[in-house]
């Protein structure tokens, strides 16, 4: 059996890649991908802890969070699509009408 620590290291790496992507990427779709990575890192954690604790609720939680991530992606792409129709690009650096 793979020790719990390995899963936690994997999830931390995936989470960090996602966080790094959020901070550096400027393309809307890539930002969405980065968020999905972060959510999946949490899912890895939940499943790993679930099997480690011999408790099913972590896996149930993962099913919920996968469904929610899909809904979130649908809304996100809908928003990106209407922005693309309006401006022909989804580079978030150029979406800057609202500033202080």
């Amino acid at each position: 059996m793979i020790p719990l620590t390995y899963y936690l290291i994997l999830s931390t790496i995936v989470f960090t890649i996602g966080l790094y992507g959020i901070m550096t990427q400027r393309n809307g779709v890539r930002l969405l991908m980065s968020v999905e990575l972060m959510l999946n890192a949490a899912n890895i954690n939940l499943v790993a802890f679930s099997s480690h604790n011999n408790d099913m609720s972590g896996q149930v939680f993962t099913l919920f969070s996968i469904a929610l991530a899909a809904a979130e992606a649908a809304i996100g792409f809908a928003i990106l699509l209407s922005i693309y129709r309006m401006r022909d690009m989804i580079d978030v650096d150029n979406i800057n009408l609202l500033r202080w």
Binding site: S11, F15, G18, I22, G28, L31, L32, V35, M38, L39, A41, A42, N43, N45, L46, A48, F49, H52, N53, D55, S57, G58, V60, F61, F64, S65, L68, A71, E72, I75, G76, A78, I79, L80, S82, I83, M86, R87, V92, I95, N96, L97, L98, R99, W100
Partner: protein, 481 residues
């Protein structure tokens, strides 16, 4: 057998939302107005049902949902905000072919917030949180041909989904160390979490996740942009409803479940409260858009409420809970006034730009006396002048802070309130002492009704606070078990 009647408010709202969505298929754009009234009636029924079950204290569905004083209190906050927004939106969505979607999403987001209020399990809490967030992402981008509205939606969506990812990551550690997702269960097993560095990571992730929703500095960047760009009625919903959802979730998770780790997060909340209110008030001073100014003032108000976490005495929690109720009325009212002014500007000149600019408030007292008076009460309530709701809640919150020995925190908060008076008084000056640029016009009825209701809420809580304070105390007792 669980008593499903306790969930009647949620069930009524779900049925009404689905009915509106279906009915929208058969109605033409000119007949969709009636759907707004249906949504309003549904919300009113839910409000009555919630008030009817005020004293219940039960758990449902194997302890995943709880109906107690705290949940009922926040449900009433959410339903009232949603009701005010719905009444005003009847005018806003007039003749819009997507009015049915608008009201459906509005009701779904309210249901999400209500689920969060009664969540007794992290899974329920997360699902409710996402239901409310996903609906409001779409609502913020409701004007899909308006670049500002879409930009608001995009910024809100990216930051919002980042915050749910952070929250979920934090929750996964809490679950891993305690072996349960039930909030009372976590409180029992929090020892393992407190003695391990993972507990600290989890607390940081959760503060960040909830902090984005509550718009605490440094997690506030999205709030001014979104509140400014989104349709004004939706800004009211976000500032008054969605933000309170962050607070009720944080009350449940930090004060109940992670109470054992309070040394870790109390100082963090004290520091966050100080930066939040200071930055919010200082930046609000230099704004020329009233919507953006209200957004920054809303950030500052979140800072005041966050004091409740830093102090965490029963009295401070009472103040924090009461503050969420008063803030809901003050902020909804203020944003609805901005919506009326926007309506007035557009009816003067169809191609007007910057309809939320401060200059449009010049001489408002002569053009729309009722709206101007209401706005004056709202801004004075926001700055904490008696006899308004804002004064009572600030008084309880700050005096409990002094009692508990955190005098420096109370002093900073009071100085901040004084600072905020500058930009609030400026609006009053523009409305009452500068010349008007047009004749008198009457407010559209739905807006007028919503504003009068919000005004009544602010004044009633301010003039006759005893029942509300008592009620907030009952709610705070749930947290101090």
């Amino acid at each position: 057998m669980a008593n499903y009647m306790l969930l009647a408010p949620e069930l009524v709202l779900t049925l009404v939302a689905l009915a509106i969505m279906l009915a929208g298929l058969f109605f033409g754009p000119n007949n969709k107005n009636i759907l707004g009234y249906v949504a309003g009636v549904g919300l009113f029924a839910a409000l009555c049902l919630t008030i009817g079950g005020l004293t219940v204290n039960e758990t449902l569905f194997y302890g995943t949902m709880t109906i107690d004083a705290l949940s009922q209190f926040f449900k009433i906050v959410f339903i009232s905000v949603s009701l005010l927004v719905t009444i005003a939106s009847i005018k806003y969505t007039e003749g819009n072919k997507n009015a049915d979607e608008f009201f459906t999403l509005l009701l779904f987001s309210t249901i999400g917030m209500m689920v969060v209020a009664s969540a007794n399990d992290l899974i329920t809490l997360f699902v409710g949180f996402e239901l409310a967030s996903l609906s409001t992402y779409a609502l913020a981008g409701f004007e899909k041909n308006n670049p500002k509205s879409m930009e608001a939606a995009l910024k809100y969506f990216i930051i919002g989904s980042l915050s749910s990812a952070l929250m979920l990551f934090g929750i996964s550690f809490v679950y891993g160390m305690t072996g349960t997702t039930s909030i009372p269960g976590i409180a029992e097993n929090a020892g393992a979490l407190a003695s391990s560095p993972i507990g600290l990571i989890a607390v940081v992730m959760l503060i960040a996740g909830f902090g984005f929703k509550m718009a605490l500095v440094p997690f506030h960047m999205w709030a001014p942009d979104t509140y400014q760009g989104a349709p004004t009625v939706i800004s009211a919903l976000l500032a008054a409803g969605s933000k309170k959802m962050g607070f009720v979730a944080a009350f449940r998770v930090f004060v109940v479940a992670l109470a054992l780790l309070s040394p870790n997060w109390q100082t963090a909340f004290a520091i966050l409260a100080v930066i939040t209110m200071t930055l919010g008030n200082v930046v609000a001073i230099s704004q020329t858009s009233v919507k953006r100014m209200l957004a920054y003032s809303s950030v500052a108000q979140a800072g005041y409420i966050a004091i409740a976490f830093a102090v965490m005495t029963p009295m401070a929690l009472t103040g924090g809970v009461l503050y969420t109720l008063s803030h809901a009325f003050m902020k909804t009212g203020a944003f609805l006034v901005v919506a009326v002014v926007g309506y007035m500007v557009v009816s003067d000149n169809k191609n007007a730009k910057d309809i939320d600019h401060l200059d449009n408030f010049k001489g408002l007292a002569k053009r729309m006396p009722l709206t101007a008076f209401a706005m004056m009460v709202f801004v004075f309530a926001l700055s904490g002048i008696p006899p308004t709701a804002g004064y009572m809640s600030k008084f309880i919150l700050f005096s409990s802070t002094i009692e508990s020995g955190l005098v420096w925190l109370a002093v900073i908060a009071i100085l901040n309130s004084a600072l905020s008076l500058y930009y609030y008084a400026r609006i009053v000056k523009y409305m009452y002492f500068l010349p008007a640029s047009g004749g008198k016009i009457s407010e559209p009825k739905p807006y007028a009704v919503a504003i009068i209701l919000a005004l009544a809420g602010v004044l009633i809580i301010g003039i006759w606070p005893e029942p509300f304070v008592y009620w907030a105390m009952e709610a705070a007792k749930v947290l101090m078990v």
